[in-house]
Symmetry: C2
Subunit: 343 residues, 2 copies
């Protein structure tokens, strides 16, 4: 039985969308158990509307909810919040395998690093979403916002962490790793990226293919795009904004006249296919990599099916053995060499 903690109160549509999504996940996977953290009466009210296997659901009552604008430091102090309570249980309960939240990213990173803890040897946890690409698969963008300021050794670890995720989550035996930079030539970028390029070129245990540009995340041939959290975040949000605008303009133009509306009827399924291929949430949630257990951050605006996908993704990655894979991968590389070199 895979036991997953679900922060019932996190995100814009909580608790309704969260509880509904979790019930969908339970119905789809008979070997799943869900532990909700949050306001018992609200969770029960939502559960009351649904059909699910009550024997595989537990509620841990807590009264506090971390808001999207609360600082991570503030969030950490609130042990009775649905998110921090979930992290505490995940840490203590040997049977608990994973945590899913649609709450504040900053609070999830803080809770993950402080309450749950990092895998031995990991310098920093990293946020790693899966971006749809032109090959019909996904590119893992790591880091994407957990670490504003990075050192080369951190970026090298991100390469290892995301490679382990690509292997375990997507069955890619030798994931291609690119370094997100402002050009493909070796000398490109600032000192951080030049140093990182050098280190990644020398590293065992990863399949480094060189620098990549922003457009290569969606159009290129990489499985993993390694980024500092600052430019990774800007890249992700720039792509999201573009995708949203294109779909918005399409919607507007396709509903502009009777003629276009007729055309739309013929293309309805094609547009649905198109949206599915370009869905930034096609893989449920972003992983918080480097932590002692599986943690999945789902989008704040998650709908039930997004939450269900995030829970399924968390279970899949737990079963695939993400944490042992990261441990093995880290053990095989002596990153202290790089750490010493950078002083």
């Amino acid at each position: 039985m895979v036991k997953i903690l679900v922060d019932a109160m996190g995100g814009d549509n909580a608790p309704a969308a969260i509880v509904k999504g979790a019930a969908q996940a339970l119905n789809a996977d008979k070997d799943l158990k869900i532990v909700f953290t949050g306001k018992r009466e609200e969770i029960e009210a939502e559960l009351g509307k649904l059909s699910y296997d009550a024997a595989r659901v537990e509620i841990v009552d807590c009264r506090d909810v971390i808001g999207m604008n609360d600082s991570p430091t503030e969030a950490l102090r609130r042990g009775d919040s649905s998110l921090m309570k979930a992290f505490s249980i995940l840490k203590k309960d040997d049977e608990a395998c994973a945590l899913v939240t649609a709450g504040s990213t900053g609070a999830a990173i803080a809770g993950g690093q402080i309450l749950l803890g990092r895998i031995r040897g990991v310098k920093r946890a990293a946020l790693c979403p899966a971006i749809p690409n032109s090959r019909g698969s996904v590119t893992l963008l790591c880091d994407c916002g957990a670490n504003t300021e990075c050192k080369p050794v951190m970026l090298c670890q991100f390469a290892l962490l995301a490679s382990a995720y690509a292997k375990v989550g997507f069955g890619i035996s030798s994931p291609k790793v690119g370094l997100l930079n402002n050009g493909t030539e070796e000398h490109k970028g600032d000192a951080l990226h030049q140093e990182t390029y050098k280190f990644l070129s020398q590293m065992d245990g990863i399949n480094f293919v060189g620098n990549i540009e922003g457009r290569d995340i969606m159009l290129g041939d990489c499985d993993v795009a390694v980024a500092d959290g600052f430019s990774g975040n800007i890249s992700l949000k720039s792509m999201e904004g573009c995708g949203k605008l294109v779909l918005g303009v399409m919607k507007k133009e396709f509903s502009a006249s009777l003629r276009t509306k007729i055309g739309y009827l013929f293309l309805k399924k094609a547009i649905k296919n198109m949206r599915a291929q370009l869905d930034f949430e096609k893989v449920g949630g972003a992983l918080l990599l480097g932590l002692k257990k599986v943690v999945v951050k789902s989008h704040g605006s998650s709908k039930p099916q997004t939450i269900a996908a995030a829970i399924a993704n968390a279970a899949n990655i737990y079963r695939g053995g993400l944490v042992p894979a990261v441990e093995k991968s880290l053990g095989s590389v002596d990153l202290n060499v790089f750490a010493a070199e950078e002083g």
Copy 2:
């Protein structure tokens, strides 16, 4: 008469697309004069295929062409190249108003800063494309790759430069300026962005609206997005990649079956409208801001109509008085205060 230098040999489709685009621009604007730099016989061969007013065309023969992979330093040494020759003429000829090239960005930046020179007081030139946005207008993204490593005073100048462009090029009286960051809160970002936020908040002469995220470039309410050249470049290329993927998937899905092909016939015009609204080249080329004359960098893969738009944009901005506007704007702000503060 507005006299514009055109690098006939720069870009993937040179000289054919360049010469053809320039002829289109000449035909559309009777007060334009074009001076081509490049291989005379090749330019003449292309001109021979076209109808245009020969009295407003001049060719300066030069034998060398800078490749897309030549380093900027190497490019600067090649005075007989079409691009460097154009910069030399632009510098010396008082009648020459602007330069348009589809050649190497790095070489154009180097030629602009070294051969043409910066406006007095400008620390660094910046590359500034116009990104289509959800308001049906454009967001100016500055800098977008000319400066990998930046200081706060540079970012403050980018705000002034791009604001002047927004006024002169798009008639926006008080352009809204956002700072591209990894979150909207004041404390977001690394030391560079935190410092810059502080300076921009205090600066006269710009309408600073605070931090913006990557998605706000295309979806938000800013006229100018100020960025360090590293993350600005990654943002631009991430958006370009996403846009290209979405249109690619759409094309594939819409031509998948007889049914979708029929739908496409009804939507042909709507899709054309959509493409026009989302065209990254809808404003011809990216401006190189901060230089003593108008310099427009067109995409390497520019087609004739892109070149024609870039030439029209250059003439428009020259007539609007971009350089005097930048001079006035810089004169009104004492950036030495910030420079002193940052040491």
